[in-house]
Every structure is written in C-alpha cells, then in structure tokens.
C-alpha cells in the first residue's frame, strides 16, 4: 500500500515537473509548480520529516508561489490587440542542451543513489534518541542548542534580504 502511495506522489512530481519545463505558458508552469511542491511535501511526510513538509507547504506554496504569480501580474505586453490571446509565453528555450544536462545529472545522481548504503550511515550526529511523535521537537532542541549560531546568523541573512528587496523594489520617488 505504502509503495503505491509513494509511486503515486512520485508520478505526480515527475509529471508536473515535466509540465513546468515543457509548457511555454508561464502561468501554466507556475500552477504546475504548485503541484510539484505539494508532491514533494508528501514525500517529506513519507520520509518522516513532518516539520520540513509543513515548512515546504507554508513557504513554497504559500509564499514563493504567490510571489511568482505576482511576478506574472507585474509584466505586461506593450502592443497587444484586445482580441489576442492573453498568454505569456517564454521565448527562451534551449531544448537540446537542457535535455543533455538534465540527462547527465540524472545519470550521475541515479548512479550515486543506487549505490548508496543509507542504512549504514553514521548516526552519531543525530543527538539524543528521545523519541517523540513529531520531528518538530527534535528540530527545536537542535536549533536552540547545537545550531544556535547558524540560527542567529540566518536572522542577519533575512535582514540583508529584507533591506535589499526594500531598496531594490521601492520606486524611485519614495526613496527618501
């Protein structure tokens, strides 16, 4: 049963990702990406990483994708007749090299992962074996004790991004 569910989500991700690449319409690609993100979060659930799954939905589906669609809304074509179709089509596509690189990367990763011994991975870094129902607790303890410096520094990273986006995206008149 679990294998079938896995296969279902795997196919969902693969097909929607292919649609993202293949569709020339940017909006179709964006909505197909939504399905990809949802499928990936389902895979996270199956891997036992429920916190990452929720993060994936909250940030990618709830945030990044909204940004993408906003980006589509911000564009406009200058000289378009009212009766034309209202699609935004990408003009840049490089099928040959794209497929070549994707195939190369796939072969490499497939070879890597098929030979990997995931059961034999050293587990000394996973900290205490206190088993809890959800991984959120473990993540929280690790974040606040061992990885506290990266956590605080991430605050600086977010602040730089905040200042930068506010500076770059603010219109010229309201600069000062």
């Amino acid at each position: 049963m679990i294998n079938f569910i896995f296969l279902f989500f795997f196919l969902l991700i693969a097909i929607s990702a292919i649609v993202v690449l293949w569709s020339r319409n940017v909006l179709y690609s964006a909505f197909s990406l939504l399905v990809t993100f949802l499928g990936i979060s389902a895979l996270y659930v199956m891997a036992g990483a429920d916190f990452v799954a929720v993060t994936q939905i909250l940030i990618y589906v709830g945030g990044i994708l909204v940004l993408l669609i906003f980006g589509v809304m911000l564009t406009n074509k200058g000289d378009r007749k009212t009766d034309d179709k209202n699609d935004i089509l990408t003009e840049s596509r490089n099928r040959f090299w794209g497929i070549l690189v994707a195939m190369g990367l796939f072969t490499l990763l497939f070879y890597t992962f098929s030979g990997a011994d995931f059961a034999g991975i050293h587990r000394q870094n996973f900290g205490d074996n206190e088993q809890s129902l959800s991984s959120v607790k473990g993540v929280g303890v690790q974040l606040m004790t061992e990885f506290v410096l990266p956590f605080e520094i991430t605050g600086i990273l977010l602040m730089v991004a905040l200042i930068g986006s506010a500076y770059l995206a603010s219109s010229r008149k309201s600069d000062d």
Binding site: M73, N76, R80, Q131, M144, M159, A166
Partner: protein
C-alpha cells in the same frame, strides 16, 4: 514512535473530499443548468459599463514588495514554531534554561524587527506616497 505516513490518511481523505466536491459541483452545474448564450450575457460585466482596454494592466510594484516582506516574515515564523513547541518543556526544566532560550529567540526576532523598523521608517509601506 514517530508519525507514520498512515497517520496522514485523514488529510488525504479530506483532500480527496475537497477536490471531489469541487469537481462534482462543477460537472453538476454544467450539465444541470440551462444555457442561453447571448453576446450580452458573455460580457465581462453584464450590467455595467462596457469594459475598455486590457485586463492585464501592470500593477504597482508595491504589491510585490508586500509579498516579498510576507515571505521573509513567513520564514521567520517558521523558525519560531519548533522553538514554541519546546518552550514549555524548557520552562519545566529550569528557569535559567528557559531564560537562555528566550534570549536566543529574542536576538533572532530583534534582527528581523530591526529590518522591519527600517522598512517602516523608509516609508516603503506608506501606500499613498
């Protein structure tokens, strides 16, 4: 004992029910209701002024900025979640631990709050400007 994928069955059932409801109602309304298509009925605003121009006029970049700020603070809130889940445990452990953890989160929040104060002082969220 960790959550098993099977524990998420209710979510899947709910998802299927939601999608099924939408699909079912759409099919039902399409096949059940009578259809009379006239040019006037297919207007975008059937009983308003005639629409002029393009629906895709560019929107102000300010909406985009708000969306970016939303994503950034979304990420911040995500970081607070695992902290909040553990906090009662730390309080029960000892006051010193709880205080330390509280300060750690305060530093993180302060960094982002600084950015937020900057954005407000710059007048970037000031809509009419």
């Amino acid at each position: 004992m960790q959550y098993q994928p099977s524990d998420y069955l209710p979510i899947i059932v709910q998802l299927i029910a939601a999608i099924g409801f939408i699909v079912a109602t759409m099919i039902a309304t399409h096949s059940l209701g009578p259809k009379r298509n006239t040019k006037l009925k297919n207007e975008v605003f059937e009983c308003g002024i005639e629409s002029v121009g393009d629906a895709r006029t560019p929107i102000s970049v300010k909406y985009f900025l708000v969306a970016i700020l939303f994503v950034l603070f979304d990420v911040e809130v995500i970081f607070m979640y695992p902290w909040a889940v553990n906090f009662i445990h730390w309080v029960n452990t000892s006051a010193a631990v709880a205080k330390e953890m509280f300060l750690e989160m305060l530093v993180f929040m302060a960094l982002l709050l600084t950015g937020f104060v900057y954005v407000i002082k710059k007048g970037i969220l000031h809509w009419e400007k």
